[in-house]
Symmetry: C2
Subunit: 709 residues, 2 copies
């Protein structure tokens, strides 16, 4: 009986088990369908343990060795040294163990300007009878073997026309329009040579502003007060004794107002692309200009002669591109980039950033090659060429792939100069990236500080009070064209950010790190004075990499539109204070702008609420995608290709560059400044026009954030 019962129980159990198995595998596979294998993947969110792993593997010594390799020789755009770095990047990104899925180069034929090595530019002091009394240095003084490299380019102003100028020297401060205007009230500027200091105005502007007054040539130097906290002696004060600029150091640079290749505006500079005649280029100097060291600047008196032998050439410049394919949404791109070309050895500018990028791709590439990880979205890495001549490589890239990049890019992360100095994080970007920067910075230790995060350190150095969040670190704006983010922000309207480590402003007033664009920006300089131990580099690699992984892996894009609304409200408040009274007197209403910002705020709050109250991991992936598209495309809605007809490739109505210098909407601020100074009714019409452009763009952006139908 017991046996029978046992058999009964056992067979019952067996039958039950069979039934369970049939029910589970048999029926669920046939009738209602098994959950498909991709179901988990599409719902997966960012993996915090992966981020921890990434952070722990970022190695400061690897960064140091990257930098050592990258700075072996000068690598000015399109030179043999540049090609060497192209090969190095390709080798690293194609490495089967630590490389990316794929890497390749893309070439453009771009218009560059160089001095003539056989006929160097000359700056001389001459007597009235043309006897040479003093000749300015042709090369910077040598302190380490780096400066003796024959490939060190003579200091020059790229895109200065060749030519000869002789005249009485006049000091024109920073070469701003107001500087020349003021000077012209007391001195007849016709036939003079102006000497200006760096800062205050764009490089090209110093010459462009001078020409209408009859100035024949311009010199530009770096003032010790602006760069060296006043120190001047290379006996014990300047490099190699400190980070300060030696007396003979000269900042090179591109003297070019626009960005991208100058001969092919809005077109990728391929071999057969139409090129405008060089004489139609705007925004470059129309009189000779040359940079000099402060040593020479201080010896120049009376009659000064400039003999400039620059020449222009169309040369082949390469971007090096690398990708990690996304697993779930390969058609969504997170782009990370930095330029590769320098003026001389470029240890800080740009190789600090390139060293960081290489370390970051090494860690991510290894995870991919080992099969341990693949991002949800695709990652694209760009090592841009010819940035120093005007952000050319990145601009041409965006021109060539305009549609594809506009449609699919989630965000662009730029790390150019990774470390200016080792005090604190500095980050700029669209307001929607604030939150992801904060999240990343909280997870990274501040270099050289025990148990303080990059975030906690940052908020001490630069903060603001947010109406919603209280005291938070201050994130800057990308309203200019200071690095390769320009085309992404201004031409494509892609949400972007720029990340670096920077100064303690209580310790220096240097306009920028003193060796900037000089022959002293070397590995020695970087490793001794900028970031000994490369721990700030490491902190940047960790922070930027963390941002990158979150952008690529988060189920819902970590972009916050309410933070955007806060900044629009701030801009609106400033605009109301500055302009409303005068505009009302001219019957121009600011109400549409007020309404637009209010619409945006309420639309942003609505979308936030949808995100907060949805169980997105369990809903259709198309709902997540819909919300992500709203977030991704937000900045695209602010583009207006007709808003700034006189600014090349500026289309973003919130972040375009502005001359008015007011912390508010750029087109409105500039139009108002023009109208106020001219008083002409057609200029007041322009203000009204810009208000309409702006209101429509902000309303248009708000329409993209509300319920989709």
């Amino acid at each position: 009986m017991i046996t029978q019962v046992l058999i009964g129980i056992l067979s019952g159990a067996a039958i039950l088990t069979a039934g369970i198995l049939i029910g589970h595998y048999g029926i669920s596979q046939s009738s209602s369908g098994a959950p498909p294998s991709w179901l988990k993947d599409v719902a997966k969110d960012v993996d915090e343990s992966l981020i921890e792993k990434f952070l722990s593997e970022v190695d400061n010594i690897q960064i140091q060795e990257n930098l050592r390799e990258l700075t072996k020789v000068p690598h000015m755009a399109t030179t043999a040294g540049d090609e060497q770095t192209v090969q190095f990047m390709l080798k690293r990104w194609q490495d089967p163990e630590t490389g990316l899925d794929q890497a390749w180069r893309e070439e453009y034929m771009v218009y560059l300007s160089f001095p003539d090595p056989k006929n160097p530019n000359k700056v001389t002091v001459v007597s009235p009878s043309d006897t040479v009394l003093h000749t300015a240095r042709e090369k910077e003084k040598s302190y380490t073997p780096d400066q003796d490299d024959p490939e060190v380019v003579q200091p020059y102003a790229a895109y200065s026309p060749a030519g000869h100028a002789k005249g009485k020297l006049v000091y024109a401060n920073q070469g701003k329009p107001s500087d020349y205007q003021l000077l012209n009230q007391t001195i007849d500027l016709r036939g003079t040579v102006a000497i200006t200091r760096y800062g205050g105005a764009g490089r090209a502007a110093k010459a462009i502003n001078a020409a209408p007054y009859g100035v024949l040539g311009v010199l530009v130097y770096t003032d010790p007060l602006d760069i060296n906290d006043g120190l001047m002696s290379d006996i014990d004060e300047t490099y190699p004794h400190s980070w300060y600029l030696p007396p003979s150091g000269v900042e090179r640079g591109s003297f070019n107002t626009h960005y991208g290749d100058l001969l092919t505006p809005y077109l990728a500079a391929k071999e057969e692309t139409y090129r405008i005649p060089a004489e139609n280029i705007t925004g470059i100097p129309n009189i000779p200009i040359q940079p000099v060291g402060f040593e020479d600047a201080y010896t120049l008196i009376c009659d000064v002669k400039l003999d400039i032998f620059n020449h222009e050439e169309v040369k082949n410049s390469s971007n090096v591109m690398g990708v990690i394919r996304g697993s779930v949404e390969p058609d969504r791109y997170v782009i990370y980039g930095n330029h590769r070309d320098s003026w001389v050895h470029g240890a800080i500018d740009p190789s600090s950033g390139t060293s960081v990028m290489l370390e970051l791709t090494r860690v991510l590439g290894s995870l991919v090659q080992q099969g341990k990880w693949r991002p949800r979205r695709s990652m694209i890495f760009g090592s841009w060429g010819a940035e120093e001549f005007g952000l050319i490589g990145s601009a041409e890239y965006t021109e060539q792939y305009f549609a594809k990049l506009s449609e699919r890019t989630v965000a662009y992360v730029n790390v150019d100069i990774a470390v200016f100095a080792n005090a604190t994080l500095r980050a700029s970007g669209m307001p929607s990236v604030q939150n992801i920067l904060f999240a990343a910075a909280k997870q990274v230790d501040a270099p050289g500080l025990d148990s303080t995060s990059v975030y906690d350190n940052w908020v001490r150095y630069a903060n603001r009070t947010s109406p919603a969040l209280g005291i938070i670190p201050r994130v800057g704006y990308l309203s200019g064209a200071g690095s390769d983010y320009a085309a992404f922000v201004h031409y494509l309207g892609i949400t972007s950010m720029d990340i670096s480590y920077t100064y303690d402003r209580t310790k220096t007033n240097a306009r920028i790190y003193p060796a900037y664009h000089t022959a002293y920006d070397t590995f020695d300089y970087a490793s001794r004075f900028i970031d000994p131990g490369f721990v700030s580099h490491q902190a940047i690699a960790r922070t930027a990499g963390n941002v990158l992984i979150r952008l690529a892996d988060s189920l819902v894009l970590p972009l916050n539109c309410s933070d955007y609304a806060e900044i629009l409200e701030d801009y609106l408040g400033t605009a109301m204070t500055l302009y409303e009274h005068q505009l009302r007197a001219r019957n121009i209403s600011m109400e549409p702008l007020k309404r637009a910002v209010a619409s945006f705020r309420s639309a942003a709050a609505h979308l936030d609420r949808v995100i907060r109250t949805s169980d997105l991991a369990n809903e259709t992936p198309l709902k997540v995608r819909r919300i992500n598209d709203q977030l991704m495309l937000l900045d695209r809605a602010f583009l207006d290709p007709l808003a700034f007809p006189n600014k090349h490739a500026y289309r973003h109505v919130i972040w375009a560059s502005s001359d008015a210098g007011k912390p508010t909407f750029p087109g409105l601020a500039d139009a108002f400044a023009t109208a106020e100074s001219s008083g002409q009714s057609r200029h007041w019409d322009k203000v009204h026009y810009h208000l309409s452009v702006l209101s429509q763009a902000i309303e248009g952006a708000a329409h993209t954030l509300v319920d989709v139908i």
Copy 2:
């Protein structure tokens, strides 16, 4: 024993059943997760039985009654009659049983031009001493009570300036530049009044072309040879005896070159929007112009006097909008539209299209309201205002919602004049819609023909030989701004089509249906001469509705990029034949364009292969979405806002309007024509520039079709 065995079997079965139930419902819900409920929805494809249901429910008598209601009174834009149609549309679209999910009106303040009812425009023949010898009719002759309606607007040329002109009458053919040029060789045109016939040049152009020769005023009439197959007598030949235009019939129209509100280019015309000064408007006549009937045209001799009292007004114009929310991808829009405003009763233009739209929304709305169906994607219906004055309602809508519509619109379907005549389908659109038009047309019976489909009938009337498909119906191109598709095609780059029923060209040479824009375009005219029984209307409703449902419900968007490649190759072939020889002689290479078209072809073939070889119903919905985004955004890649600086809101480099009249790329054709006629090198540079613009756009489009990373 048997009992025991039975009990054993039964209990075994019960246990097995319990197991199955546990296995199926218990385990699958807890451990591995049940297939989520949305899984079927996201994989669902178009339902052919739904299409059959739709086709069978489209009712010709309903269309007839819609038309009767819509044409009760004249409904020129912004008049009381227009408001009556707004109310009618809203009532229908808000009907709880047959309406849409939601319907509302959107208003714009737009710049219109009207005659003065108290001071009608006058055309008179005067003696040298100013005695009036003949006065042209102020109103058309009345044959039915419709023409007696006091709201019938006097025939006039909208946007003609008010003014008085007197001069010797000269016949200037169609008022093309060449017509005036030729005439000026034998006659001194200064001080004359020109009479021109409709056709050959845009309405406004007839006056704009004349002014430089000193012509003081222009008349325009409809020649019986162009519209009536030569018939002229209202005793037995013209309406009400036939569809032909009575002698006193006058075509009204907007004499305006651009489209959209003239005072607010690129900005939605809201109350506080900035308006350009009216004197800055371009593209409208600068001398008075007035249309007359051929009856009057033939009596005008010697000295003719024009007294034009038109005035401009900013008036409130409404679009009526309605939506059906999408179930799976609500953020994808299929837009269907037609204008609502007419010049007089507008039975054919536009109410034939509006009647069709209302029938189509009645059938779809009923299915939605009964809970029987909801489209995968959202459907948006637009009843546009003020089209007759320059496509204003649709253009303002696209300006206001630019970002949202650009990002999300799958396609725009336009049915304006639904039935010109009852012989055959006529369809125009981007090449990618060819296939869906064919699919839809094959499922609809041709009106009045037994067992012949609309497709089979169509291919007899208008066909071409496709390299890939053999003999197929010819789909036209949307290269002008003939109806409300213009802003969608040219400004937003949205894949669009325009559908109607039209003539047997062996039976008439009429330029357009003869009552076009006259007081005779009435319900009586439509129901007796255009489409007795409304069966062609029904065929259009079925065809367009079928297209609409397929666009909204197909899993993979039914847009074909290889068909696009075929037309680009055709354009390229023409361009090579016409231009290559001369361009090579000027060192301008067409190779980049050839390469671009080849890239596009291979990218299109690749995407087609991906679609063909994927099991998309079982893969992640994000893969389907990715492919659909590639298809949806294809036309966006052809936009270049800087390619046509002199053409308002033309940005699509393949379909922009062209003056050269060559079946090839419009910017290239126009630039070539200019260069060839001027011979200036700067004009040849423009040709090279346009080649680069075009090659980059086509390459850019190809980049969007290849593997996404």
